[in-house]
Symmetry: C2
Subunit: 341 residues, 2 copies
């Protein structure tokens, strides 16, 4: 089967964004209590938001299941405070849960965390537990920059983050390192901030002993690893020069997805990074929605690139499309086994 | 001939760094006047700093000339104020000038600008004029983030920067977009901040009409363009989706160097980006100084990768190694012609 490990619910019914708008408006009212989630969406609205979009695209492209999470750019962790983020994550994750209940064959859930700048990990740990243990989610997205463009929180390798990692290891779920929007006019979100977040996080991992402290922690770097595979020689050389372990050691815990939107980029990724560390993904519907005039197909139809990559054996393609995702997301594997898949 | 368009004087005699240390120490003395450059270095010290290092490496690798600028990570524009940066740029550039006088066959100068957060462009314009018109420099380095890791100044496409671009066009010199050190613990300088600066700047150019306002402005994005060529499909797709001109239009003004430290990365760069837009460079001695155990050669010996790249014709290689650099740096071309080269 073919599993896409990176999709966002970018077509969620408007009532979700309406709640968010009301929640933010309430923040500006002096003395008003925070607005708890009050999203009302019917099952039919959910179906209408998915069937002609993500589900139709899955069928067209031959993708069997998508690991779905709330819209990344809408996480906007800089807004309000920890309570704001807690309510917004609950509303967003509850909707993902309903999707996975309506379409258990097509979608598995990954949750948004209620991060907030300098607010610690307690609410994140609680929401992760609620989503994974309570709602059957298989992983989480981790925003390495809750300030959304100003990078004012500690690096992901700081002990500040450790309570989250402890819970992830306990629950045996991976995290995808995924920034949100950018408030910084220097960084376009999908054209710069996303890729820069991936690159920054990877280099943090190169420099730290995080995975000595958490040998069971698994982190997925999306968007093909940002700039990393293209500069693989730089990273190998920097690790060597700085007395850090060789890349092979890091690759016990770090994985890259295939969200690279042209053939030469995917070819490079598959040539440079070991097949065991690459997870198939397309991020439908994400940064780039159009058709590539050079190919006549959608930019984000990454299955075509993986199928056409010259250096990949069929056995490796099977790893990329299915086996690696099941290994990195063991709770997804368990769900699929329950379904006899 | 082979021209390396991106080298830094990372082996400068210690007296330069000593001045900088004294300059910074003076900043902490209440009421003390700023310390003007008082660097004393003999010609022999300069020779000893270059001959066994950059010049020996040029000979080994068959590079005829390097476009040399002050050490990028030492620019540290966040330190002090505009006067601090003015003194430091003068000291650094004067030393580069002496190198180009001692070794006119081996080095041409590119200047550091005295940028300082939110200080405007007046001192930069003056120093650029001094270096180019007065000292024979052929270009400048532009730091897109003078805050050194917090990105608090306006994007490079903001009118804030226009006085600098006006002077660059008037003098007919290009700029290399090159960040400096990182004060932000999230960003390792050569492992994240450098590449992220390249990527952020490119996306700023995609979104703006900067080159409509300055059709003659030429900007070089180093380190192989950060993440950009690896994600070329993403950029083509984003430009299309956002109603921006196709990449070909941007490539009238934007160029990439070849500082990518492994063969697959250089292959991708040369496959994806038109040959007219790639300038040979190695950044000796820059981020990665060691020997790649996989090849037995230095990571930054980029000439080997360009020589071995399978998709490049001899004519294109000639462009990359020489013709493009002479076209993008017309004052270098004029210097070389004076030398009969």
């Amino acid at each position: 089967m073919i599993i896409d490990c990176h999709g966002h619910y970018t077509t969620a019914p408007k009532a979700l964004a309406d709640y968010r708008a009301r929640q933010i408006a309430r923040l500006a009212e002096p003395g008003a209590p925070a607005l708890s989630p009050d999203v009302r969406i019917s099952d039919d609205e959910i179906r209408a938001s998915l069937e002609p979009h993500q589900i139709a695209t899955q069928r067209q492209r031959g993708v069997d299941l998508t690991v779905l999470s709330p819209m990344a750019s809408a996480m906007a962790h800089h807004v309000g405070n920890a309570e704001t983020s807690r309510h917004w994550a609950q509303a967003s994750n509850d909707l993902i849960h309903r999707v996975t209940q309506l379409y258990p064959q097509q979608f598995a859930g990954v949750c948004q965390l209620p991060q907030s700048p300098r607010s610690g990990m307690a609410t994140c740990v609680a929401e992760l537990e609620r989503c994974v243990a309570g709602l059957g989610f298989v992983g989480c997205n981790i925003n390495p920059d809750p300030s959304d463009g100003y990078w004012s929180d500690p690096p992901m390798t700081d002990r500040y983050w450790y309570p989250l990692y402890e819970k992830m290891v306990e629950l045996d779920v991976p995290g995808m390192v995924h920034v949100s929007c950018s408030c910084n006019p220097n960084f376009h979100h999908t054209g710069a901030h996303y890729l820069n977040g991936d690159t920054a996080a990877f280099m943090q991992f190169v420099l730290s002993d995080l995975f000595k402290d958490f040998p069971g922690l698994r982190l997925v770097i999306p968007h093909g690893g940002g700039a990393v595979p293209y500069h693989w020689g730089r990273y190998r050389g920097l690790a060597q020069q700085l007395g850090r372990p060789p890349m092979g050691e890091l690759l016990r815990n770090v994985f890259f997805d295939t969200c690279v939107y042209h053939q030469p980029g995917v070819n490079l990724l598959l040539q440079v990074i070991p097949a065991d560390n690459i997870l198939f993904a397309s991020e439908i519907f994400g940064a780039v929605k159009g058709i590539d005039p050079e190919t006549g197909f959608h930019f984000d139809d990454t299955r075509r690139y993986v199928d056409a990559a010259p250096t990949v054996s069929e056995a490796d393609r099977h790893k990329l499309f299915e086996l690696n995702v099941r290994r990195v997301y063991p709770r997804l594997d368990a769900l699929l086994k329950q379904q006899g898949r």
